[in-house]
Amino acid sequence: MAHWQRFPTAPAHLVFLWRMAAVLTTAVITAIALAISGRNPFELAELVGRSAIGSRFGLEDLALFMTPLILTGSAVTITRRIGLWNIGAEGQFYLGAAGAAAVGLYVPGPSLLVVPLMAIAAMLCGMAWILIPTLARAYAAVSEIITTLLLNFVAALLVYWLVTGPWRDRVTGALVSTQHIHAAIPEMWGVVHYGFPAALLVACGVSVLLGRTSWGYEVRISGANPGAAEYAGMPMRRRIISVMLLSGALAALAGMFEVAGTVHRLQGGMANNFGYLGIVVAVLARGSCLAVIPAALLMAFILDAGIVMQTQQLAATTVLAITGLVLMLIAAGDELAHYRPVRTTPPAGTIERNVSA
């Protein structure tokens, strides 16, 4: 006789298997829904597969989608490690984009010099944008969820004002846009620019920072139990400040990559929900900085599939529904990974149980 028992820990391989099952189930449910609405799910699946991963275009798009998602996902993940939520990655993305654009527009010189300056300016702007929520959190315990969220709207409007006002395109008359910014991150593979490997490196770097430094250890302890951090005399306030500033800088870097690598202009609306999708990526990654990479890949694939489906006359909201389904089923899968079959021990099986314990 065997029965399922919930264990307090979920082994990584079970989590992986259940998550695969969750993604598969999502695909099956989506296929059934599509079939019911009179479409041929196999044709669509084939098209999605061919377009998203079976073609050069698709792979390039995946990489371009992943680049900002990895960075905003990392930005949200590191705040999760100290028990906070940075909902403001969208706003910091905008500010990073604006800071990068300022340098790109007004600092002459070769890309080799200007692009690093753009990155620095972007990160400083992102940090400045999260500074007030950070200080309010660290010194007055004001919920960073609300403050960072609300600043998103301010940031979006600020960029809108910049690109319709002082920085509007006076060269070609493009509206809600700055002029073309010539300093660019070089392209490495088709339209994929070096921002993609840089984002991968950043995710790995953040993972090392959190897992292999005493700073990261203090962040983890502070996040897991502020009481224990206080007990051990950790400088919690300073850690909160540094984590949130780093988070702002990462989200801003995503904005800079988008400006210097993909769009080559600062434009209203360019954050494109990457900040909010970073939250989804962070939830999928369950607090692990390395897991942000596959999570961003999954999200990028869903977004890419969404574009294919839109050209097949499916509403853009389908993507929203699929994302929700994936999140729900993965959450269920994570819980199921805690269950393992246990042999109901007959009296003679006592020894065996002792061994396994």
């Binding site: 098209l47 377009s51 073609s55 275009f57 698709g58 798009d61 371009l64 909902i87 969208e90 969220l149 998103n152 709207f153 979006a156 409007l157 809108y160 395109d169 060269v171 070609t172 008359g173 493009a174 509206l175 809600v176 846009s177 073309h180 988008e258 993909t262 769009v263 080559h264 202009r265 434009q267 209203g268 609306g269 360019m270 954050a271 494109n272 929900n273 909010y276 999708l277 989804v280 999200m299 869903i302 977004l303 890419d304 969404g306 574009i307 294919v308 839109q310 050209t311 097949q312 006359q313 509403a315 853009a316 909201t317 993507v319 929203l320 994302t323």
Partner: protein
């Protein structure tokens, strides 16, 4: 996840602030020299396509059910489908003005489209794709760039506005006209200026008060703007929104209104004067036909008065003599007359178009200042 900046509120936290200014606004990308068709070399022609092999892709800025701009374009798409029953066509609605637009256009190409028509200006986002897909014809409504395989088209709606403005100038009692505007962009300047110049041509005392509501579709804001205009003494309302909110206000207040995109007569038959109505059917059919035949070339095109854009038949309460006088001008324009001639002063009193000069369609296409008597935009 919905990728565009959603207009609807139910997207909650993901909606962000809707900065999508909409269709004709986004015209990034081209130096002004590109405005004119290239001379000196023959534009490359694309190979002909059999009707049954053809895939024509349309990219819309809004939903086809918006009842205005996108619906007007969708009627054109339907005409294409009727005319070429064997041809495949697809469309994507509500394309955001972001790198996602590029992805969608690239996907059209990847799926084998021979022609991509987007019903709003997408600037670099479409140009990047066009540059990498030289065998595909790209058309951009209200664009700026022209390359070997990318062209733009637009409607000269200002002539219809001028004609309607004349009626407004003749029927107004307060000499105050009101304009429910959206954003301070050229197509809106062209619309408001043309209407006012038309009115002033018959009634020089006319002035125009404009309010920008920063949206193409916001009935609430449009209603408030219309009420404010009516309260300030305007007895003729016109505008450039996608829905008939200000027409309803005019009907309630017993004043007149002119609309745009499609006929909205039913929403306020007493107040309805006319509207700038759009019809892309013929244009789209001909563009597709040219593409199939291999005769399509990339050039900027204006849909002129009577050919895709016109005034709607006059409303039931429009005095016959006013209508006749305006129609007389319409006939002259159809015969080649350009009413946009100097002297034209801007609203700071500066002479912008000297006497004896006319504004060409290209000038009007990039109009970014208000004429004398116009207040409230930008």
């Amino acid at each position: 996840m919905q990728r565009r900046k959603p207009v609807s509120k139910e997207n909650g936290i993901f909606s962000g602030t809707d900065l999508r200014i909409g269709r004709r606004l986004f015209t990034a990308g081209a130096a002004s020299g590109l405005l004119l068709p290239r001379t000196g070399r023959a534009a490359a022609r694309l190979a002909p396509v059999a009707e049954e092999d053809a895939l024509i892709a349309f990219g819309h800025t809004g939903p086809v059910t918006d009842g205005g701009w996108t619906t007007a374009h969708d009627l054109g798409v339907q005409a294409v489908r009727r005319t070429f029953p064997k041809l495949r066509s697809v469309y994507v609605e509500s394309i955001p003005y972001s790198a996602d637009a590029t992805r969608i256009f690239r996907q059209f190409v990847a799926e084998g489209a021979q022609m991509v028509i987007c019903t709003s200006g997408y600037g670099d986002f479409i140009k990047d794709v066009a540059d990498r897909a030289p065998d595909v014809a790209f058309m951009e409504c209200n664009g700026l760039a022209v390359t070997d395989n990318l062209a733009w088209y637009y409607i000269t709606h200002w002539y219809a506005s001028y004609v309607i403005g004349m009626v407004a100038g003749l029927i107004t009692k307060t000499n105050r006209l009101g304009f429910v505007g959206t954003f301070p962009i050229p197509s809106v300047y062209a619309s408001v200026n043309a209407t006012l110049l038309g009115a002033q041509s018959v009634n020089p005392a006319c002035t125009m008060q404009s309010i920008a509501i920063n949206s193409w579709f916001d009935p609430q804001a449009a209603t408030q703007a219309a009420l404010a205009l009516a309260d300030s003494g305007c007895d003729f309302l016109c505008g450039i929104t996608d829905e008939p909110a200000y027409l309803r206000v005019a009907e309630q207040r017993g004043i007149k209104a002119a609309m745009w995109n499609l006929s909205m007569r039913a929403f306020g038959p007493k107040a309805y004067v006319s509207g700038v109505v759009l019809d892309f059917s013929h244009f789209y059919v001909e563009q597709v036909r040219a593409r199939l035949a291999g005769t399509w070339t990339a050039r900027p095109q204006f849909l002129t008065l009577g050919h895709g854009v016109d005034r709607d038949p006059w409303g039931e309460t429009v005095p016959r003599e006013a209508a006749a006088r305006a129609d007389e001008m319409r006939d002259r324009i159809l015969a080649g007359y350009n009413p946009f001639r100097g002297p034209i002063y801007d609203n700071s009193g500066k002479l912008r178009v000297p006497s004896g000069q006319v504004m060409t369609d290209f000038d009007i296409y990039r109009w970014d200042w208000g004429v004398r008597g116009m207040t409230g935009l930008g």
